[in-house]
């Protein structure tokens, strides 16, 4: 076996061991350790924003800044595509 393949095998086995341990140490599904923020949002969404859809109230109100970044990503993508595929002058 070449030296490169050997190094690759060692590296991948280290990664595999790390993943295995992180999978074993994961807390059980559906049971949260820290849920203070979730409880606050679930409890106060309707009274603070007046919206029934909690996801929308998080996306546009509690975490509006994240949505601004998302909209910026969309704007940049559209600008890039239009710039590449714009009509050439004949």
């Amino acid at each position: 076996m070449e030296r490169r393949n050997l190094a690759g095998a060692v590296f991948l086995s280290i990664i595999a061991v790390i993943f295995l341990f992180s999978a074993l140490l994961m807390h059980p599904f559906g049971i949260l350790d820290e849920s203070e923020m979730d409880d606050y949002i679930i409890k106060n969404t309707q009274s603070e924003t007046g919206a029934d859809n909690g996801v929308t109230s998080v996306v546009f109100d509690y975490r509006g800044f994240d949505t601004l970044g998302e909209a910026t990503v969309l704007f940049t993508a559209v600008a890039g595509v239009i710039m590449i595929f714009r009509r050439q002058k004949k």
């Binding site: 007046g50 546009f60 601004l68 239009i82 595929f85």
Partner: protein
């Protein structure tokens, strides 16, 4: 992309309004039911893409220029950021929901009772949904339209 057969065009013309109304419903009820500006905008944009596939990209680009679409997208982005800055001015915090709230009594977009949200509650959330919906509709449709037209005109030029 050239136009498809008459059967496809007729069926598309029949189903297009339903897809359009469903997407606009998802945008308008974004604060009440699952969905929102992004999702409803994607539905409307796919309805417009269906029109484009059935009738051909040249037919579509003769009626809607991509410059108009990018203007619409910028209008949506400016409305979104403008609402955020209005929150900074009136509410004190960037992206604050300055219309809704217990201390502000406004006739429109006011807070309703708990669990009794209606189409006119939730403050700036519906307005932001409209802004993002406009942005997503115009942006996605502009991408699809420009790419389809560019590939078809490239083929024609090679012939």
């Amino acid at each position: 992309m050239s136009e498809m057969s008459k059967i496809v065009r007729t069926i598309t013309a029949v189903t297009f309004p339903f897809a359009m109304i469903y997407g606009l419903y998802v945008i308008a009820h974004g604060h009440l039911t699952p969905g929102g500006g992004f999702q409803g905008g994607a539905i409307v944009a796919s309805a417009c893409a269906m029109i484009m596939v059935a009738f051909g990209s040249k037919w579509t680009i003769d009626r809607i220029k991509e410059k108009r679409l990018s203007v619409l997208e910028s209008v949506g982005a400016v409305a979104f950021i403008g609402l955020a800055f209005l929150g900074l001015i009136f509410g004190g915090v960037f992206f604050s929901n300055f219309i809704a709230g217990d201390d502000i009594a406004s006739p429109l977009f006011d807070n309703a009772a708990l669990g009794m949200s209606d189409i006119n509650t939730a403050g700036v959330l519906p307005l932001m949904n409209f802004a993002v919906g406009l942005k997503v509709i115009a942006g996605l449709f502009a991408i699809v339209l420009v790419m389809a037209y560019a590939t078809s005109s490239y083929k024609e030029g090679k012939k």
